[in-house]
């Protein structure tokens, strides 16, 4: 068997179920792969690790990849399979702040970790929703204090991943009906979310391995979508301290919002619409000054995807 190290962007949580399902059900094995999955410290550091070859394959935010490619045009890391057709980037708030739509953020305080992937899209969000961002006070608050500060009313809204913030807020004894999560994708953002990425040298040297990995992962995703309840068991085996109910709910939320979008239902898993991807790169340009703007083909290739028929739900 070929050993393959696969890096996640974050810890072992509900949405990481597909890979563990693929392991536990022997899908990787069937492709002749011996896959090990590692946690990660976020997309930024993770992409660097894939680019440096520490990991041949990883699961990271494609928007970060766009920036990485812009800063390092000679490092041809590419996404090969889209997983989050819609990104989990969101703005969370509580009902008592009275914020119901993006425009309501004016005059309020927004708490955002400087390194947050969702906050990175803030300016695009502002533009799409015609918010006067001079009226929004932004505070850099780190991840550990983000939800507590919202719950304490020290900030009125926070940016982050929908399925992190929502459950963290629940944990803080907020009731589901008190929490409002606005997915940025629902408010004009055309961005994609996390995708599987590959180190270019590895891909060139082992195209079969990469193809096999994608195939098996797709089966894992399909199984997870079909049966989240049993899929979550594979996560729980690997995270002894997690709470199964929470993780299952988190997974279901991710499946609903990020995995299984209308576009995916129609076109199948794993692929992208290259025009939308190109548009999303333009949208990143709102928040970020490109040196040499990468093209859609620079960040995504479908060459390792199985035929569309195999990718249907």
């Amino acid at each position: 068997d070929t050993d393959v190290k696969f890096a996640l962007d974050w810890k072992f949580e509900g949405p990481s179920a597909p890979y563990f399902v693929a392991i536990d059900k022997g899908y990787y094995k069937a492709e002749g792969l011996n896959v090990t999955v590692d946690t990660g410290p976020g997309s930024v550091a993770g992409i660097a690790r894939v680019a440096a070859g520490t990991y041949p394959l990883g699961f990271f935010d494609i928007n970060s990849l766009v920036k990485f490619r812009d800063q390092n045009p000679d490092k041809a890391v590419k996404a090969i399979m889209m997983v989050y057709d819609k990104p989990p980037f969101a703005i969370a708030t509580t009902t008592k702040t009275g914020i119901a739509k993006p425009k309501d953020l004016e005059g309020k305080v927004l708490g955002a970790p400087a390194a947050d992937g969702a906050f990175a899209q803030w300016k695009a969000f502002v533009k799409e929703n015609a918010i006067d961002d001079s009226k929004v006070k932004i505070e850099n608050i780190g991840f550990p204090v983000r939800e507590p500060m919202l719950a304490d009313g020290k900030v009125d809204a926070i940016t982050g991943f929908s399925f992190s913030m929502y459950f963290n807020l629940l944990q803080r004894n907020l009731k589901p009906e008190d929490i409002k999560v606005m997915l940025m994708s629902d408010y004009g953002l055309v961005l994609y979310g996390n995708a599987i990425m590959v180190n270019p040298d590895f891909a060139k040297a082992n195209p079969k391995v990469v193809e096999g990995f994608v195939r098996a992962t797709l089966k894992g995703v399909q199984d997870t979508i079909k049966d989240p309840e049993s899929a979550i068991k594979s996560v729980m085996k690997r995270n002894e301290t997690a709470d199964e109910k929470t993780e299952l709910a988190r997974l279901k939320m991710a499946l609903r919002d990020n995995f299984v979008t209308p576009w995916v239902k129609e076109n199948g898993l794993g692929g992208v619409d290259m025009t939308r991807l190109a548009k999303s790169i333009d949208q990143i340009g709102i928040t970020y000054d490109f040196k040499v703007k990468p093209k859609a083909e620079d960040v995504f290739t479908s060459e390792f995807l199985p035929p569309a028929a195999d990718r249907k739900l």
């Binding site: 974050w10 949580e13 946690t39 991840f143 304490d152 997690a242």
Partner: protein, 257 residues
Amino acid sequence: MNTHTIERLSPWLFTIAMFLIWEVICRGFRVDPFILPAPSQIFVAMAQYWWPLAKNSFVTLWTTLAGFALAVVFGIVLGIVVGWSRTIYRGLYPVMIGFNSVPKVAVVPILVIWFGIGEIPAILTAFLISFFPIVVNVATGLSTIEPELEDVLRALGAKKLDIMLKIGIPRTQPYLFGSLKVAITLAFVGTVVSETIAANAGLGFLMVQAGSNFQMPLVFAGLLLLAAEGIIMYAIFAYVESYFVGWAFRSSMSAGG
């Protein structure tokens, strides 16, 4: 209860008092358990997750000790080198200060690229973060040797290295042990920092995972275990120290002996 008993019990009394105050503050001021859980909640989490905690504590402990051992050896050698030559002292010190002013989080990614994730970056981070206090105290000890004592050896035709080993190091031992106490705490910090970024085990790993699920009592359980490991190491040093440097704690005011 005589003074001696009070002295023997005082670490326990202080610790218990601290936990009590902590509990009272948490309850009295209704501190949000997501900010600072009360000790009682932490102990519950500890009981509930004792196995993952134990397993990961052990990983953190041994990686820290490995890094710390490196730091001790390297710190003493570098201290001697720095104490050896004024040119090296003056040249190397600023560089070391600069390096140490930089948070080691910035160094971990580099280590990860070179050594992969896991124990090695943790060991190296623990080492990199903890050698400096040792160097400083050894070098200070060497450069403040009383010339009177130095002359005793020089008059015998002793080489500089002899003087360092026979006088410099022994007389600075109390401070060397002091620096070890500082260094071991830093080593733990280094390991944990590295584990939060790049590991699949260890208390740092466990705490980020728990933190990302907002299981704050579990995070604090990890912190307490970390503290406990630091204290155990300290107890070991204190024992070794009392054996080696009793001569220095002759003062009636001595708190060390």
